[in-house]
């Protein structure tokens, strides 16, 4: 790659964007103006909310006791409020109790309350039933004459509150009046205690004293540590998206992309130049918005605290504004590369706009997840792209530098790996003629299906392979929700057979027959070289201790709830005990899944993906599908890793049979492991886990076997052959 060209393209794109009025407005003017304007309107709205009063209708005020008073003249008594101004916010109106025979029963009063609220716009209706004061007095008299603790006085009829929770104003009125009534009830209680010659401290013998240990300046960081990273990432994404659309789809539309493509600049140089441009704008947008928001927030909060405070929200910690941009750089790089690759797809800026939604849909959960309080920074979570970085930022803003430092490495590693893939994807897009010069096609499902059936190749296309993967996952998802856990062997066998045969193997085979002209080649139903079969079995055996050790690491990093784990183990043990013999059990748990899953994942899906032109890309994507199909994160990770090995065996041997042999052996060993570890005869090699030297020995043998597989000559797809001719001169010049 010629970095001079990258710099040249970068400088031009930056200048080009800076000359665009829309970009300038979006990136520089909007954050500078937007937040102060938002802040101002917030101030206005807040004042409006504060001053709005609630109107309350009180029915049956004659039934209120004289002491302690609830109402003084036309309002609630002043001591029942925290501050005198609050008293004016509850406007009271009175209505006499309706004269009826039913003694104010619930339904009647409810109907009346609804009518009053509808007709006169009351936010809340409160009703004190007939003889409330009399009964309260009786209660107090009984208290005084009480003989012993067992004698309880007669109950007092409940006053009723009517409000509408679906209406904000009514809710507010309810909150305000509840405070008042609570204080009033306490007064009544205290009086009762006094009259019974008991001190008021009987019911509240002590109070808790609270001390906030947060360091000064950090007491408000909790909220900001969630909001600021979120705002930062969302703006980083938005800031990357629009320039990306302009730089790719926009250039296609204006016809300048072909000019650039016919210049000596390599595609990778063009991508990098554009990527750095997009990144710069993404960072600028995020930083400016962050600064705008933080400064406005600081100003607003100082205003509010002058007005009487706004709870426990304080100004954002300014130190955070220094840390966040550092974390922003790798995230912007990731978002920019994703946006660039997506934007390369779009034929026009209009089409490009449509891609923002799916991108947001993927990113939003990853950014919202870390805002939940239970989601904490640990090794497992730090390995989740985007979310890990958010958690890292959260800890940093809260000042937990030690905690954050521990996870910088994994978070950065994951982010950089994702970045690398996204950049590769973007460069791939720019190497694809069908992407750069695609013309608008009429959308017609009929034509498309006819095309799929008519122009069948010997193996499926990439799109068909991806479609198969997605279909399998969707079917699996729905099947999972409708299947019940089984504890008899027969039930377990049937449900496993249904899943494996009907939901995994059959769709793949059907697609192979319908969509390809050579299902045999697609499903790799070739005779393999004889040696590959024992080699595959040996490989599975050699890898077994390592897989087990790795599985332990995975379940340490992503611990499964122990109840769930026990449930699964218990079920498996029951099923195994119920099986007529161990061979039947192995058939259902090891052999059947091996056949069916290999047909789908190493057969149809991998064969189609190999048209991508990179065999490792094909192996990786098919393994991801294989992993996700296992539906449980711990199993999925391990399955994906093992899938890579089986995928490699499939490519190198060109046959499904060694893959099935590997799979059967692998599954069987996993089951045998349970019984093996309990057998004292094997204690020398097994104490809770395999001895380290066994793991190392196995890994060594496996590496040797994989090297042997590497020497096999495998058949390449046309795309792979082409990619090799392209890569060779490039390697010669760079090397």
């Amino acid at each position: 790659m010629n970095w001079f060209n990258v710099k040249l393209i970068f400088a031009r794109e930056i200048r080009d964007q800076l000359r665009d009025r829309r970009t300038m407005f979006m990136i520089f003017v909007l954050p500078v103006l937007l937040y102060p304007l938002l802040g101002m309107s917030l101030l206005l709205v807040a004042q409006f909310v504060q001053e709005q009063s609630s109107s309350v209708l009180l029915i049956g005020s004659d039934n209120l006791p004289d002491d302690p008073q609830l109402v003084d003249e036309d309002r609630f008594r002043e001591p029942l409020f925290a501050s005198p101004e609050k008293r004016d916010l509850l406007k009271l109106e009175f209505r006499d109790e309706p004269l009826s025979d039913d003694d104010g029963d619930g339904d009647h009063m409810k109907a009346m309350a609804v009518q009053e609220m509808d007709l006169h716009g009351y936010d809340l209706v409160i009703y004190f039933p007939r003889n409330f004061d009399v009964r309260l007095q009786e209660f107090r008299d009984q208290l005084k004459q009480r003989d012993g603790p067992n004698q309880t006085p007669a109950a007092i009829p409940s006053p009723q509150l009517f409000f509408d929770k679906s209406k904000d104003k009514s809710n507010l009125a309810y909150k305000r009046i509840s405070q008042v009534l609570r204080l009033w009830t306490i007064e009544i209680g205290d009086q009762n205690l006094a009259e019974s010659k008991l001190p008021a401290t009987v019911t509240r013998p002590f109070t808790f004293s609270n001390t906030d240990l947060a360091a000064p300046g950090h007491s408000n960081t909790s909220m900001w540590s969630k909001i600021l990273p979120f705002v930062l990432l969302i703006w980083a994404l938005t800031g990357a998206f629009y320039p990306a659309i302009d730089l790719c789809a926009g250039e296609k539309e204006r016809g300048t992309l072909e000019t650039l493509l016919s210049s000596p600049a390599e595609r990778s140089e063009i991508v990098m130049g554009k990527l750095f441009t997009i990144m710069s704008f993404s960072i600028a947008t995020a930083v400016l918005n962050l600064a705008g928001m933080a400064l406005t927030g600081k100003f607003l909060i100082s205003q509010f605290s002058g007005l009487g405070g706004m709870g426990d929200i304080g100004p954002p910690p300014m130190l955070a504004l220094v840390w966040l941009p550092l974390a922003l750089v790798p995230m912007s790089a990731l978002f920019s590369a994703l946006c660039l690759a997506l934007a390369a797809f779009a034929r026009s800026t209009k089409e490009g706009q449509y891609y923002l939604m799916p991108l947001m849909l993927i990113t939003l959960p990853l950014t919202i997840l870390p805002m939940t309080p239970t989601f904490e920074l640990n090794l497992g979570n730090s390995l989740i792209p985007v979310a890990g970085m958010m958690l890292l930022m959260r800890e940093t803003i809260q000042g937990n530098y030690g905690e954050a430092a521990k996870f910088i490495a994994p978070v950065l590693a994951v982010t950089l790996i994702c970045c690398w893939f996204a950049v590769r994807w973007a460069i791939d897009q720019f190497n694809r003629e069908s992407v750069l010069f695609s013309e608008g096609e009429r959308v017609d499902v009929g034509i498309w299906i006819r095309h799929m059936l008519r122009d069948r190749g010997p193996t499926p296309t990439v799109l068909e392979a991806l479609l198969c993967g997605v279909i399998l996952l969707v079917i699996r998802f729905y099947a999972m929700s409708s299947m019940k856990p089984q504890d008899s062997f027969a039930g377990f066998a049937v449900s496993t057979a249904v899943i494996q045969i009907a939901l995994i193997a059959t769709p793949a085979m059907l697609m192979a027959v319908m969509l390809t002209s050579s299902p045999r080649r697609t499903l790799l139903l070739n005779k393999p070289a004889l040696l590959t079969l024992p080699a595959a079995v040996l490989l599975a055996v050699a890898l077994h201790p390592g897989v087990l050790a790795l599985g332990k690491v995975v379940s340490d990093v992503f611990p499964m709830p122990s109840a769930q784990m026990e449930q699964i183990n218990e079920m498996l043990a029951k099923v195994q005990a119920d099986a007529p013999n161990v061979w039947m059990f192995l058939l259902i748990v090891a052999v059947l899944p091996a056949f069916c899953e290999e047909i789908a994942f190493r057969g149809f899906i991998l064969s189609g993906l190999r048209h991508l032109g990179h065999k490792w890309q094909a192996i990786a994507i098919s393994s991801i599908f294989f992993g996700v199909a296992h539906m449980m994160i711990q199993q999925s990770l391990m399955a994906a890793l093992v899938g890579i090995i089986i995928g490699y065996v499939a490519v190198q041997s060109g046959s499904l049979l060694p893959c099935i042999m590997f799979h059967v052996t692998h599954n069987a060993l996993a089951i045998a492991d349970g019984s093996l570890s309990k057998n004292p005869r094997f204690e020398w090699l097994y104490s809770g886990a395999y001895q380290w030297w066994i793991v190392a020995l196995g890994a060594g043998i496996a590496a040797a076997l994989l090297l042997w597989f590497r020497t096999l000559s495998y058949s390449r797809t046309e795309e792979e052959l082409w990619q090799e001719t392209v890569d060779k001169p490039a390697q010669a010049t760079t090397g």
């Binding site: 072909e258 210049s263 003629e433 095309h451 001719t725």
Partner: protein
């Protein structure tokens, strides 16, 4: 200078299965000559020239430009050509001078020689009065001049013009053709594709008539007239194409039957 052998390009097409845009096209072009590709819209001219400029890759066949293979040495090929087409627009937010300078730098030219070269080109193409005008504000004629200046700034031995006069008014198109023939006189190897007979007649030293991705005839204007026994190029063109369509139809019905 340019050798094209059996160049084929096909695309997957939803409606018709595979679409062959270029079918075993072969030709050679020498320095100091204008080689014309004449064909109706959709004949495959643009596809052929995009392959020569390495923007597209051929499905099969070979093409070399100045001795460099378009498949294996695309970067060197791009260094040795200038490509002007109706699809290669100028940047809206860049002035004429900036645009030409940008491409000069991409071609690896040093600052001083580039400046001297640009002064010369801007003088020759009479672009000095709009050298600081942004692309968006230029007339079509100005834009076309910028495109030519951009394509010749590194003084390439090969120039490719793909329907470059499309959308130009008579005066501008005339000036453009004048420039192209001057470039030929300077010893450049020029490929010029068009669907306008007059242009081909006036400009091209040799003409290839292309239809449906296939070459129907090739030769000097005189040679073509003699071999077809038809003096008028337009008439000749029409005859060749209708003859091809007749055969094609015959073959198709034979296949179907």
């Amino acid at each position: 200078m340019i050798h094209v052998r059996d160049l084929t390009k096909s695309y997957p097409d939803l409606q018709h299965g595979e679409f062959v845009a270029l079918n075993r096209l072969s030709f050679d072009a020498k320095p100091g000559e204008i080689y014309g590709l004449l064909g109706p819209n959709g004949a495959g001219k643009t596809t052929a020239l995009r392959i020569l400029s390495t923007v597209l890759r051929p499905t099969s066949g070979t093409a070399t430009v100045s001795g460099f293979d378009v498949m294996t040495q695309p970067s060197q090929v791009r260094h040795h050509i200038g490509f002007v087409s109706c699809n290669t627009a100028v940047y809206d937010r860049m002035s004429a001078w900036e645009m030409v300078e940008y491409f000069g730098r991409l071609y690896g030219m040093q600052e001083e020689p580039l400046r001297a070269r640009m002064e010369d080109i801007f003088e020759r193409l009479q672009m000095n009065e709009f050298r600081d005008l942004l692309g968006a504000k230029m007339s079509t004629g100005m834009q076309q001049k910028v495109s030519i200046a951009r394509a010749i700034v590194h003084d390439p031995p090969v120039l490719i013009f793909d329907e470059a006069t499309t959308g130009l008014d008579v005066l501008v198109a005339r000036a453009m053709l004048q420039t192209v023939s001057e470039l030929r006189d300077n010893g450049k190897c020029i490929i010029f594709s068009t669907h306008i007979m007059r242009e081909a007649e006036r400009l091209c030293d040799r003409i290839a008539i292309i239809h449906r991705g296939q070459m129907l005839a090739e030769g000097t204007l005189e040679g073509l007239r003699e071999s077809c026994g038809e003096h008028d190029l337009e008439e000749l063109f029409f005859q060749l194409i209708s003859e091809y369509e007749r055969q094609h139809e015959f073959l198709e019905t034979a296949e179907a039957g």
